[in-house]
């Protein structure tokens, strides 16, 4: 007979083994890609003007899309966290829709409202730009598929801010705007920041929706696909490796910043364990 303690240890051992399999599944393809790519190949690819411009384009469009939509998404997330309204369940479900829609289908749907023949497309045309085949279109496609991550993360962040603190700020004579900017947002800063990072990362890795709205100018995921279909694996791989490396660097830096260097005292789920230890 095994003792309860031994049984718990066995359980943990099995779980750890299963975890190892999952980790390997993620790491193995990436590692093999990196290992199969020589430094000289990488160096040559890094000099390739088309590769450089596509990576740069991917980086700035994804960041701009995140920044532009954050202006509307963060206040909206606050509303979702604080107020009950008619059909709130429906609204919450709509927010999650982009996650479940196949992204090529999302691209087709967006095309329906953004092409030159639509109202939005005509308005854009009057101002002098087009969504189709432009960076504006790329940003729209990226934002469409990635905005749920920011909304959900920010909403959860606001939910964790004690309402009592907001009411206290009001009783001290602050206007609701001031309370939002000086109490609610700073206290939800960590979840908002991680939502921004998630949205940005998700937008940057988008392929399907962007492909349909804007094949050109070419973002890195589209370029990788094009090199693969036109020249084969050997030519696509260094571009992929380079793009992943650049993304990782940014991702790690931003993650570290959001984890605590920038907002050491903001309360959040990420930092709560540390904070309790501090008390």
């Amino acid at each position: 007979m095994t003792s309860p303690k031994n049984r718990t240890e066995l359980l943990l051992l099995v779980f750890a083994a299963l975890g190892g399999v999952v980790l390997l599944f993620i790491i193995a393809p990436l590692a093999s890609m990196f290992l199969n790519c020589s430094l000289s190949e990488l160096a040559d690819t890094a000099k390739d003007a088309q590769v450089k411009s596509s990576i740069l384009l991917t980086l700035w469009t994804s960041m701009a899309a995140t920044a532009i939509f954050a202006i509307a998404a963060i206040p909206f997330a606050y509303l979702l966290a604080r107020k009950d309204f008619l059909l709130k369940g429906l609204v919450t479900a709509i927010i999650d829709l982009p996650i479940v829609i196949p992204h090529s289908a999302a691209g087709i749907a967006l095309l329906g409202v953004l092409s030159q023949s639509t109202v939005l497309g005509k308005v854009a045309g009057k101002i002098g730009f087009s969504f189709i085949g432009s960076s504006a279109g790329i940003m729209a496609a990226m934002a469409f598929v990635s905005i749920p991550y920011l909304l959900n993360s920010a909403r959860d962040g606001f939910l964790a801010v004690p309402q009592r603190l907001e009411k206290t700020a009001l009783s001290l004579g602050a206007s609701p705007w001031r309370v939002f900017l000086t109490v609610s947002v700073p206290l939800a800063a960590k979840p908002i920041a991680s939502g921004l990072i998630l949205m940005w990362a998700r937008g940057m890795s988008e392929f399907g929706a962007v492909l349909i709205i804007a094949y050109h100018p070419m973002i890195a995921p589209v370029l990788i696909y094009e090199r693969f279909s036109a020249f084969g694996l050997k030519y696509a791989r260094p571009v992929a490796v380079l793009f992943i490396a650049v993304c990782l660097v940014f991702f790690i830096i931003l993650r570290l910043l959001a984890m605590g260097k920038v907002f050491p005292n903001a309360k959040s789920r990420i930092g709560s364990s540390k904070e309790h230890a501090h008390r």
Partner: protein, 353 residues
């Protein structure tokens, strides 16, 4: 002047029914009652966190029942700190000043002044999470006072503090009040109410059961509930004296011509003493016991008190004793009979004013 007029509100099992009271400018008003009586709900109605179902709140003659929180000019301090955790203590105190759009210089001056007043100057750079309970409460009070409220509401501000920092906060509250700040203070602790309140309202089951001065409420409780809740029938106002040559903590407490022996570590000064009627012993003769307070007097009243019999003896002032029916028979107690009353110095609860 704050007027609460016929406020009603039901919140699940809790219900405020027709609660009314008035707080004059500069008063220290205490809402006293057991937990669940609806004290906090009433306070939150005044500050604007809760909308009443019926009734009005008037501040200086203006109806503020439905006014926005930020326009009411009512400050509030809760039992648990509501200091903003992402700001230093300095920024917390400066918060209401910044809302008033004061200049940087004025803000610095005022924060320094308040910090000195509330003995938190050395904590200004700290974050709220690093403060002790007493320190956080002092900082919360400083911030609330900085907003210059017309009325300051306190919800159990002392209850969660350790015994050591309680007298400190009490004297701070007295100081704030002495400068003219109107205060409404909610507590379940009658010693706190007596120690601080110039006026007390007792709450029972969502109703205001009695309003008056400490003496009125303790000596003449209007209902059995109040008498039971407070549990004190013998309540005397007077002075605690410093006595020499005696045991260190045994002090004399005088109330007119009467003098009592009290066991306390509090310094000399004005205050109240309270003796539970359960702790008062009645005998036909003066007996030699450890009780330090022995008085001869005449029985003036014998009444049933639900559990037991309450015997009131006039020893120069009236003292109530709660004894069993059996004892009344054995001792042959009746009105007009001369008896001895005694209670221990340690049975007296002294509360400074």
């Amino acid at each position: 002047m704050l007027i609460v007029r016929r406020i009603s509100k039901s919140l699940g099992t809790l219900a405020i029914k027709d609660a009314s009271f008035e707080v004059q400018q500069g008063q220290y008003f205490v809402l006293l009652g057991p937990s669940g009586a609806g004290k906090s709900v009433l306070l939150e109605t005044i500050v604007g966190l809760i909308r009443p179902d019926a009734g009005k709140v008037l501040l200086n003659g203006k109806d503020i029942t439905y006014k926005k929180i930020q326009k009411r000019k009512i400050g509030m301090v809760f039992q648990n700190s509501t200091l903003f955790p992402h700001m230093t203590i300095y920024d917390n105190i400066a918060y209401p000043l910044r809302c008033k759009k004061l200049s940087q210089f004025q803000i610095r001056e005022r924060v320094a002044e308040l910090a000195k007043d509330f003995a938190i100057t050395n904590l200004l750079d700290h974050r709220p999470q690093t403060l002790s309970g007493g320190e956080s409460q002092r900082a919360s009070l400083a911030r609330a006072v900085a907003s210059e409220p017309r009325c300051l509401l306190l919800d159990e501000p002392i209850s969660s503090l350790d015994v050591k920092s309680r007298p400190q906060i009490r004297s701070l509250l007295r100081k704030i009040n002495a400068r003219g700040q109107t205060i409404v203070h909610v507590t379940h602790d009658y010693t706190e109410a007596v120690s601080l309140g110039t006026h007390i309202a007792v709450m029972e089951n969502g109703r205001i059961a009695q309003t008056g001065t400490a003496k009125q409420i303790f000596c003449h409780p209007k209902s059995e509930f109040i008498a039971r809740f407070i549990g004190i029938r013998n309540f005397f106002k007077g002075w605690l004296k410093e006595t020499e040559g005696k045991q260190e903590y045994e002090r004399r407490f005088t109330n007119g011509s009467m003098a009592f022996s009290v066991l306390t570590d509090r310094p000399a000064g004005p205050g109240y003493i309270m003796v539970r009627s359960e702790d008062v012993i009645i005998g036909n003769t003066a007996s030699r016991t450890s009780a330090r307070n022995n008085f001869e007097g005449t029985i003036v009243d014998i009444t049933s008190a639900g559990v037991g019999i309450e015997v009131v003896v006039d020893i120069g002032t009236k003292v109530a004793a709660l004894i069993t029916n059996e004892s009344v028979k054995k001792l042959g107690l009746r009105c007009g009979k001369k008896v001895w009353v005694s209670f221990k110095a340690s049975a007296i609860k002294y509360v400074e004013q």
